[in-house]
Amino acid sequence: MAQARLAADIGGTFTDIAVTYRGELYTCKVPTTPHAPEEGVFRGVRQAMEKTGLGPADFALIVHGTTLATNALIERKGAKTAMLVTDGFRDAIEMAYENRFEQYDIFLNKPLPLVPREFRFGVTERVDARGNVLIPFVEESLDGVLQALRDNDIESVAVGLMHSYAAPDHERQLAEILTRELPGVLVSLSSEVSPEIREYERWSTTAANAYVQPLMSNYLGRLSDELGRMGFTCPLNLMTSGGGLTSLETARRFPIRLVESGPAGGAILAARLAQECGLDRVLSFDMGGTTAKICLIDDGEPQHSRSFEVARQYRFLKGSGLPLRIPVIEMVEIGAGGGSIARVDALSRIHVGPESAGAAPGPACYGKGGTAPTITDANVRLGRIDPAAFAGGTITLDAGLSATAIDTSVGAALSLSTTDAAFGIVEVVEENMANAARVHAVERGKEVRGRTMVAFGGAAPLHAARLARKLEIEEVILPVAAGVGSAVGFLQAPVAYEVVRSRYALLDDSFDPDGLNALFREMRTEAEEIVAAAAPGAVLVEKRTADMRYRGQGHEITVDLPAGPYDRSLRDTLGEAFNQAYAETYSRRIPGLDVEAMNWTLRLSAEIEAPAPCPPDPAAVARDPSGMRDMFDPDTGVFSSVPVYQRSALAPGAVIGGPAIIAEDETTTIVLAGFTARINALGYIVLKWEA
């Protein structure tokens, strides 16, 4: 019987492959092929089959995640898209919030909408906030519009009507006409893509879905066809930004839900590890080539939200991208990765990122023409990275080029030696990440101190120990195959789908439990159809939440709901649940204020087995280092010769005192002085602060 599962995660530089078969994990990295991303996947799949000896018939599931949709949005390489909106609102997606995201820069420009004004058209109709029709849909108002869509070879149309989350009929009528009159043109309805109140966000999401849909639909079709030709008969599921898997069909309808799949895979990996190791408060730290992602995981579950911003175009600043209301795993992303570039400002302060040297030209030490100093260059200088053994020895780094770049861009400006400047660069980026983690936590009413850090991604193990010190974290776990963490996470994700509806409800005498029951029945039907298609016969787990706030506030907090059906007592249950959640987030409750609910969500997932608990550590085994290297100590400020261990040679039970270096092909783990590293029964490195 087919039992193997394969995950393919396409990133900017590498496509990561992970295969599990009878409890064994195999991983590899192949270069991403931007012109036709599926080619990299096929190459990786073939390589995995060769190495494992498995054939297509051995696979029960293929899971795929890709940055293709994200890249199309960043590079503005999507379809020629038009948008139909309620007459009088054609500028909503361009006016956005009517604000500037950076206060002092009078020269900033706002992100251009995905649909230019000449392709945005008004349609005569109007519905009010309660769903009552104020102006019926006038089909004739489309007369000139259809012709304009044809004349301009529009490939995809987004439809966004006012209050369509409450009354989708007009959008559906429009869809029927568009499908009939413009065969071959794809149509995205805001009432289906993102049925939530707040027209700008809903329409921005819908426009983005329409914009990437032709590209993604073609790509997924090609991928699926070719896998079929290779002999695979198992289902192909797609990883979504919300951390659940979905079917090919759903992915083609709502490709916008695929944008942040890589980071979501990483969060799933960390969550499974938390369950495995029995950790109730975890901070996951995923650092790659261009960004770092930090996510808080309580009781084995990452937090979910529906607020994401894609394609930030201005120093990675909040507000400089396009908002998407899609289910996402809540995390903070910082423009800090191995390729992030360091510079000095007018106040003689070091800044690192978000500009990145990327894969080409890459850090100065790659010798591919990069002259700007990056985090990787600083790590080379400080002895954290062995220039001779980078990426398993496949790339030889030039430490001299690192030094020149650091001197030129940072050292000279600050009159610092190369080493001091390198230390400054690394210290600044670690401080940035620590600050971002603290702010992220405070926004959610949480603390980072005392958590266990789970670190993965190519650059995280280099910085995890120091970051942990800054955050007062005393335990860091580095899983196996930390360099391809997202792909491994894909294999652990459940099939899941989240449905949202906006329906305003004030928790007073007008509260209507029957209406709510009907709403949830409808949501369940919608979700069940999608989940059952990707996981036939699975046991389904349902989770309901409501977005609530005190009347008059502008931000909602998400509150878990009990299972339905509901009666009038729900009003009080909800009120109490909200007050409790509010108190947990803000350390106080406000008696005497009315509570209102804006949105309702239902997340349906196929049950998956909880991971087996991590067995106790075997007895300690002493190991000899494979060599020694000079490494800089950030606390004392001096270099010392430290032992280097090969991770592949360390068996469970091995204990290493810091300072030390644990090297592997995909990354290097720095064990700072004061930490002890232990290999646990599952082969994970566990760093403990002992000082």
């Binding site: 500037r100 106040l347 931000h555 406000i590």
Partner: protein, 578 residues
Amino acid sequence: MTGPSNDALSAIRLQIMWDRLIALVEEQALTLIRTGFSTSTREAGDLSAGIFDISGDMLAQAVTGTPGHVNSMARSVGHFLDRFPVDEMSDGDIFLTNDPWKGTGHLHDFTFLTPCFRDGRAVALFASTCHVVDIGGRGMTSDGRTIYEEGLYIPPMRFAHAGRTDQTLIDIVTANVREPVQVIGDLHSLATCNDLACRRLREMMDEFAIADLDRIAGHILDRSKAAALDAIRKLPEGVYRHEMRIDGLESPVDLVAEMTIGADGIDVDFTGSSGISSYGINVPLCYTEAYATFGVKCIVAPDVPNNAGSLATIRITAPKGSILNAEHPAPVSVRHVTGQMLPDVVFGCLHKALGNAVPAEGTSCLWNLYAYGGPGRVEASPRELADAATFTVLSFHSGGTGARPGMDGLSATAFPSGVKNVPVEVTEAISPLVVWRKEYRQDSGGAGTYRGGLGQVMELSLLEDAPFAFSALFDRIDYPPRGRDSGSDGAGGTIRLASGARLNGKGTQTIPSGERVVIEMPGGGGLGAATQRDPASVAADLRAGLVSAAAGRAIYGVVLNADGDVDEAATDALRSDK
């Protein structure tokens, strides 16, 4: 290899501590935003947070949505210290005030000051400011004739004494405001965010093993002052004068500035500006200082963080009794309508100093939708209002900004304020209002080589059969934003009933049952001659409908062919005639 010198390590540590202080005040501000009740706190970022050394010098201030608190909150700390010296403070003391002259310009803003103690010694001060939803009196309108009509006034005093909150004060506030739960909630938020920041500071001092902030404070202030002065010394020294006339309320208001750029900083004096108004559009000096400083910083040193060192290089003065230095008991409730104009005035001076480096004038003051209805809230007979729903709606909206050197202005975007709007769907969900139209206003952007940003048109009415109150606080109706260097003025704003009657730009007015209000917001001024504009840019504006075909031809001298591309022959012919 040898290790780094102590000096080098210490320089890096100082930067890390500085970064940490900046992150710490951001965290302080975020705590406040997340828990704030008033629309302007959470959507407009109408709040502030900062850390001060024990002599009252500001070390770091969070970058939030409104420039109105730049330096004004910092000044308030000095006022607190005059009244309550640090050595008389105890751990657990919290101070507050909403004094418009000692705080941030009107009674709606509360400033809290908390001394931060470590090992029994005050090591720093934390201040925060936020806008509360109500303060009694007439509310946020221009209608008051003295400060006494504008609400409850609380001079600098203790909110908590050694950890015990003053219940008498809470009772007085509760009895005097319309939404006591929310207002008291906000006061507690202010106390909480200072407290959190203090905790973080103690952790930082533990981590870096420092007993006081003297060294880091000196480092921050010296570096910042030097960076600000470096930037100022690149400007041509001299005295530059500029005037701007705006609508005002009962009569037009002249804003006159004289800027002196010298080696030790920039001085801006507003002598010559109009005297005070009889209504609440007057500006206390602290608020004048905030917006004028902001305008200077945008052009001169946008990247230098705000603190006592950098801000000391920009000095603002205005004669007592002028509209920009209104004294007690002048009404000041809506001082932002006038204050938000000041960056444009400062830009005018800088234009004379620098030439083509500053934007043309923009709408500058917000064009907010502020409406309310229901029994007892609208000037109409109780019978007419008997069945009317009670509601209040406040959403921030904006006209166009001025064209910028090398780029067009921003359409329907707030500047200098940093506010965000409220979605139309949300406004409609919480009130019986319907917004029928909200889109760009064609041809409103001032023509120029670089075009001013467009204003927008909003049209709204009440779904139910009742009158409602509309509170206007608009400017740039009679005196539109001016273009620069041969650029055209932006279109002035208008406000009227759909049936034709003109409404006042300022003051609360009653909208009769069944009427629609039409608001046309100003466009920004243009920069440079319109006939110098790249024909391809004009063509793009024409295709997008931002500029009408008639204006394209008459003002820009550009004609398109049937494909929507520039008809070069016709365009050349037209332009050579101009």
